[in-house]
Symmetry: C2
Subunit: 176 residues, 2 copies
């Protein structure tokens, strides 16, 4: 593994144990057995590390929305966006369940360009003017998909089973 | 509001912004305009504050499970436990969506007596030997219910609407 990749893995481990706010660059340096200066050399701030961990996932929001919007009809669009989101969550289950609701991450993403694509995804799933029932279903399924990977009861499932069952659960809740 | 209650509200505000790990007793004291010694006088450690915020909710797990187990037949038991859990989440929506997945809270609860009652609740909802599909549904609905309150799209809903729609969403996912 490259030094950059090793650093991001160590950071994610620490974020899972202490939260982003409770993790310092010094803790990341100690975990890697390097100096804090060596960490600074690669990432000038902790926010840069958080964004580097998140970016491969965030960069997928746009293509998922593009692909879904290219489908004909709302049911096909919703199905496409759901499949794309579930694939993304399975691939990044540890990142998603560790960082989705971290207060530092929520603050960082408030002004992040990917937010626009996340909103496109939400509109594709829930429509442009969802009623209260749809809003609650969207809130439940968003949080449920993002955090399901944190549940020890699903830790043993391989990616394919996890994806199939997540998709089935999401369909039940969204299409009744 | 009593001093103890004011302290717990200030602590929850800070936990929501910085996570438990990123919140110090000094920050809580500063928020209240008191000395750190005054905070120590009420709570000897941050863990004690976290548990004081959580306890009113955790103490309800046992009675919810007791009530459900007093029903006749698994469908009635599942319905009773679901209603109890949803009522609890609506009543404590801010506590639930702020603390459910905080790494410090997860660590604290690992050895907490309420864990046994949480496991009773999970068994009442998902059975004693759930297949992979049930385990994923349980993971999605647990996370979805606990964190739905964090979604800005449901912030405007009153408790009654929020409860009815949460219950409907949970039923869809659990009973298909």
């Amino acid at each position: 593994m490259e030094a950059r990749e090793r650093l991001l893995v160590a950071a994610l481990d620490l974020f899972a144990t202490y939260g982003v706010s409770g993790t310092s660059l010094q803790m990341i340096a100690d975990r890697l057995g390097v100096t804090k200066a060596a960490v600074y050399h690669q990432f000038p701030s902790k926010d840069d590390i958080v964004l580097a961990v998140l970016s491969p996932a965030l960069d997928r929001f746009g293509p998922i929305a593009d692909h879904a919007e290219s489908q004909r009809g709302n049911p096909a669009r919703r199905e496409a966006v759901l499949a794309g989101v579930v694939d993304l969550i399975v691939e990044f289950r540890r990142v998603s369940s560790t960082l989705s609701f971290d207060p530092v991450v929520i603050r960082l993403l408030r002004s992040h360009p990917s937010l626009r694509n996340l909103q496109r995804i939400r509109r594709l799933l829930g429509g442009t003017a969802p009623d209260p029932g749809s809003r609650v279903r969207m809130a439940v399924i968003s949080a449920g998909l993002m955090m399901a990977g944190a549940d020890p009861a699903v830790a043993g499932l391989d990616d394919e089973d996890f994806r199939d069952h997540l998709l089935a659960a999401a369909r039940r809740i969204l299409t009744g």
